[in-house]
Symmetry: C2
Subunit: 367 residues, 2 copies
């Protein structure tokens, strides 16, 4: 399974793996794909610095990427304390009452931390600066095109820039800004998504940007059949995320208590696209927490970044409680097929073998 | 492009084409696919009888299928007049006021007809009886499994039964009822759809029903790349619909005034999944009509079959007016790629040629 992206990035397979875990990212890169570390969870620049140093040391010299969350338009922002003053009292009350109703205990005395500040533009910018002092080959932005000066800075360091797009017109705008690679993020994907499914979106974007811009198919990719489907649609590679949550390496990320149980039992119907996680539509696992927000009388989610500040403490409490019925976690519809926990290298080997089987099958159909 | 379905049905390509137009159905069958005539528009049994006789005479002896709309559970129903008494006055008022606001004129004096009765169980049953006196090779049901006695009757006539499914558990239930072929209807499809996109749904259903039950991939299929993607996902063939609305043969169906303009300019973002057409979630072209129902204060759509009775007259008026800004029409996200009107045979030839190109491309990737 080789496309021009393999030579461009020095990887064996055009399989890009977004993950919040450096252990997963390193394992993917070692297995021949491109591990892409999600930086949004790093409030503390020193922590990201240390983690990237660890990645440098644990990827056997193989390439890796980083993923930030950065709006194109630079917002006016204050500290998280300033921002918190914009959150209406009724929203806070709803969160408190819902946690009580769902039996989520307060954090143990002395525990707790600030919300996830990675959603703030200034913090995402610091992530880029820290990353560029290491050796990423790719900076991806989950919110579309980063500001042009960020793209230029990445290019000065010889680093390619990828941006997520949920419609062809957004992809064209990213390319106009200087973005090198488009991630065609289909409706079925976990996290921030648009409304167009991969089957339609991937060829839409491939044709819109033309052969000079590689497109990664994203959303619904958890097996080699889906990799083959995405490449048949014209993608130069695939962008995966959810499937790596079901790996042994992911267990190293402390905050996954309860997630495994929830993921392993979920079907493809057990996700929901909602604004409650960040303020922008994102696909999450369907739990009592997401259902509470869908009930009549629940408040309308706040815009980004206020919504995440509102629910940050709730997320900490939910994660600490580890109750699989309540967890709040982005995941794609492919969660229905995450039925066992395997090592990253095994998942990668399956993707490649199943891809080859799918191509052999198509050849048989083609006569 | 041959799969076992080709031998089973005596067709050249495993491309099934749902269409309300007998002209399109006949042309698809003549071009080597399987044209499947949608029966829901036939209120008058004699009209369906005549149309099927026309199909018998215009398919060069090639096979064709029919599609009905029949809930598995037989509802208690009265005449359309009885049913009309269940429609709340505020719903009628909303429809009247919306048509006025959108500038849709009343029907000319003497014109107008009853609502589309094909949504009624008794009428759908008569469609099956009439069809079985002709030579269809397939009866498909848009609402999942038909009642078991209908399946048995079809089998007695040597006719296969296909049923749409939006989740693996529904597909398993259809198979248990005796259904022969599952149409995996993805989120991106036009008409009645579930929430799981094709990229995830097709392999879900293929694996759930096992190798003994052929699965047709449906939703988002408008090019040979998408046919290749669907077959890579494990489908034994594809079920298409929207793309045939953009054909010269479709122009024979009188009620398409204004549709062509609307389809040709639409992008993949210009559809919406809503209950306003039939009472069950169905994907329609996004127009001022669908937007009016999404506004704050608009009534909640009624359950099937009341919603269709409520809007039937409005649909007649909208169709007669031919205003492309207002039309009410089921179509999938693939509408964004319907940019020119072509003969059916050309569309079929493109699907086949592009499929072959996609397979050649995958072989190159596979080395």
């Amino acid at each position: 399974m080789r496309t021009p992206l393999c030579d461009e990035f020095g990887i064996d397979y055009p399989i890009f793996a977004f993950t919040p875990s450096e252990h997963v990212a390193a394992a993917v890169s070692r297995a021949g794909g491109l591990g892409v570390l999600g930086c949004v969870r790093f409030n503390d620049p020193d922590e990201l610095e240390k983690t990237l140093t660890w990645l440098d040391d644990n990827t056997d010299g193989k390439p890796y990427g980083v993923d930030v969350v950065m709006p194109m338009k630079i917002p006016t922002e204050g500290t998280s304390t300033d921002l918190a003053s914009y959150i209406p009292e009724e929203h806070r009350k709803f969160v408190d009452e819902t946690l009580l109703k769902l039996g989520v205990p307060p954090l143990p005395e002395g525990e707790g931390r600030e919300g996830v500040l990675g959603w703030l533009h200034s913090v995402a910018r610091s992530h880029v600066d820290i990353a560029l002092a290491h050796r990423p080959v790719l900076i991806a932005n989950a919110l579309g095109s980063p500001p042009v000066d960020v793209i230029e800075k990445a290019h000065e360091h010889g680093v390619k820039v990828a941006a997520l797009a949920g419609a062809a017109k957004h992809a064209l705008s990213h390319v106009a800004n200087g973005v090198d690679i488009i991630v065609a993020q289909g409706y079925e994907a976990g996290g921030h998504t648009g409304e167009i499914a991969s089957m339609v979106l991937t060829p839409d974007i491939v044709d819109a940007v033309g052969p000079g811009v590689p497109v990664l198919g994203a959303g619904g990719i958890g097996s080699g059949r889906q990799v083959a489907a995405s490449l048949a649609l014209g993608a130069a590679g695939v962008w995966t995320g959810s499937i790596w949550l079901g790996t042994e390496e992911y267990r190293n990320l402390a905050s996954n208590k309860g997630w495994e149980t929830a993921f392993l039992r979920a079907t493809s119907s057990d996700t929901v696209r909602t604004r409650i996680y960040t303020g922008k539509p994102a696909r999450l696992l369907k739990t009592k927490w997401t259902e509470a927000w869908a009930e009549e009388g629940a408040p309308t989610p706040l815009p980004m970044p206020l919504q995440n500040l509102l629910v940050a403490d709730a997320h900490n409490r939910i994660n600490a409680s580890g109750d699989p019925d309540v967890i709040s976690m982005p995941v794609g519809q492919i969660v229905g097929r995450m039925n066992e926990v395997r090592p990253v290298a095994d998942v990668m080997a399956s993707l490649v073998a199943e891809f080859e089987e799918a191509v052999a099958h198509l050849n048989k159909v083609n006569g």
